[in-house]
Symmetry: C2
Subunit: 251 residues, 2 copies
DNA sequence: ACCTGAACACCGTTCAAGT
DNA sequence: ACCTGAACACCGTTCAAGT
C-alpha cells in the first residue's frame, strides 16, 4: 500500500504510531519503511536521520497539550489543568520521556507549552527568577511522573524471569519478584500490605493529585512569603502565540 | 590485560564506567568485552543478557545515596539531604534515568533507599496513604530533576546542525538554534534576556533548591492540615536495615 | 565452571544509480 | 525531487566446542 509520495508529516505520524505501539526500542527505520511501503532508506531524504525523527515526534506530542487560559479559570486551576493534561499525554506516549532524556528535543511544540506555562505562573504573581523556578518545579514534577508511568510500562513489558537459579519458583514474574525484595524491608512491607487490594489506577491518580496539590500549596506559600502574592481568582493576562513560522526544522 | 577470571561485580563496575563515560547508547557488549579483555560473549554467563546488566548497574548506583538519620538531624533536614545527595548521584550517572524509564529496575539498592525515605517521612508525622504520597512527591521531583540533567547532557552531546537549509547560518549549534526558537515567544524571550550572563551551574542549583523547599513547604502544609503534624525537630525512630541476603539476583 | 569463535538475525547510514 | 538496492560497519544473542 504505497502512498502517492512520502512526506515528513506522514513519516513523523507513522513513527509516533510505531512508538506508541512498541516503545522506543521498537522503532527502527526498517520497520518504519515496511509500514510505509517504502525502502528502509527512503525516509532519510525527508527527516535526515533517526535521531532527528525522534526529536520531531517528541516535539509533536508536546504540542498535544491543551492551554487553559488563566484569565478565565484562575491561575491555580489553569496550572492544575496544564499538569493533568500533560500527564494524560505522557500516558498516551510513554516513550516521550525516554526520548527527551536521550536526545535533545526542542521545537515549537515544547516552546509553546513552556510559554503558556510562564503565562499561567505570571498570572499567579510570580516574577523574575521566582517565575522560572515556579514553572520549573511544576514541570519537573510532571517529568518525574512521566518516569513513573514509563517504569510501569517497562514493568508490564518485562517478561523476564530474573532469578532462574534462585531458591523457589523458577518462572515468577517481575512484579512478584520485586515484591519479594521489597518485603524484606519493614516499612515497604507494611505499606505493601496496606495497599493490597487497592485499585491501582485509582491509587495512581490520587498519588499524582496529592503531589500536584502539595506543590501548588508550596508555591502559594512562597508567593505569600515574598509579598507579591496574587489572587487565585482570574486576572487579566493576554496569551499571544508565537509569530508563526515553520514548526519543524527543514533539512 | 585479562583478569584472572571474570566475575559479576567486575562486569557491572566496568559497565557503570562505560555508561558514565559514553552514556546509555555507548554501552555495547562488544565494547565491554574489549574493555575487560574477553570475548564479546563472555559476559553472558555472568549476567544473562544486556538488559539485566543495565538493571544491575542501575540498582548499584541507587545504593550510592547516603541515608541521613531523621532522628539526628530532623525530618526536614533529612529529607533535604536525601534529595540533594540523590541529585548529586544522578549527575554522576546521567544514564540512570534513561535506564529506569526503559528497563524495569528493582533491587536492594533502590529498595533500601525507598525504605529509608519512608523512615524520613514517617518521622515527619505522615501515616497511611499520606506517607506513600509524601515519599512519592519528593521522589517524583527527584526523577524529574534527573531528566533535566539528562537533557542538559544530551544537549552537550548533540553536535547536530538541525537547520542546514534554514535561512541564515549553516552550522549553528543546538543551543543557539533552540534559543532562536524560544525567542519567538514573548515570555520565553523575556526570561532568556533576564538570565543572560548568569552562572549556569549556580542557576541550576538555585532552581533545584527552590523546588525542594517549595515541595517541603507544601508537604508541611498538608501535615498541618491533617492535624497529625509532627515537630521539625528530631523524633526517635529506628532505621533498621533489611535482613541481609544477596543484593543481586543470581541466574 | 568458565570462556571462545562462528554464526544468525538484526541494526543505522551512505551513496551511486535510477526515475 | 524523490526513491531504490547494494554495501558497510555495527549490534545482541545462541550455541557447540573447548579447557
Amino acid at each position: 500500500m504505497p502512498r502517492e509520495t512520502l512526506n515528513r508529516d506522514q513519516i513523523v505520524q507513522a513513527a509516533i504510531d510505531l512508538l506508541d505501539a512498541e516503545g522506543i526500542e521498537g522503532l527502527s527505520m526498517r520497520k518504519l519503511g515496511r509500514q510505509l511501503g517504502s525502502a528502509p532508506t527512503a525516509m532519510y531524504w525527508h527527516v535526515g536521520n533517526k535521531e532527528n525523527l525522534v526529536v520531531l515526534a517528541a516535539d509533536r506530542v508536546w504540542g498535544e497539550i491543551e492551554r487553559p487560559d488563566p484569565a478565565e479559570v484562575g491561575w491555580r486551576a489553569a496550572a492544575r489543568a496544564l499538569v493533568h493534561d500533560a500527564h494524560a499525554m505522557t500516558l498516551r506516549h510513554p516513550w516521550l520521556i525516554t526520548a527527551v532524556s536521550t536526545h535533545f528535543v526542542y521545537g515549537h511544540g515544547l516552546a509553546g507549552l513552556q510559554d503558556h506555562s510562564y503565562a499561567v505562573y505570571e498570572a499567579a504573581g510570580f516574577t523574575g527568577p521566582d517565575l522560572d523556578w515556579a514553572v520549573n518545579t511544576a514541570f519537573t514534577f510532571l517529568a518525574g511522573a512521566a518516569i513513573d508511568d514509563a517504569v510501569k510500562a517497562a514493568m508490564v513489558r518485562a517478561r523476564i524471569r530474573p532469578g532462574r537459579g534462585e531458591e523457589g519458583s523458577a518462572e515468577e514474574d517481575v512484579v512478584t519478584w520485586a515484591t519479594g525484595i521489597a518485603s524484606r524491608y519493614p516499612r515497604l512491607r507494611a505499606r505493601l500490605e496496606a495497599q493490597a487490594g487497592e485499585d491501582p489506577a485509582r491509587a495512581a491518580r490520587r498519588k499524582f493529585e496529592f503531589g500536584v496539590e502539595a506543590i501548588l500549596d508550596g508555591l502559594e506559600a512562597r508567593l505569600a512569603a515574598t509579598g507579591t502574592a496574587a489572587a487565585t481568582a482570574p486576572s487579566a493576562t493576554t496569551a499571544p502565540g508565537p509569530d508563526g513560522g515553520d514548526p519543524r526544522p527543514r533539512h
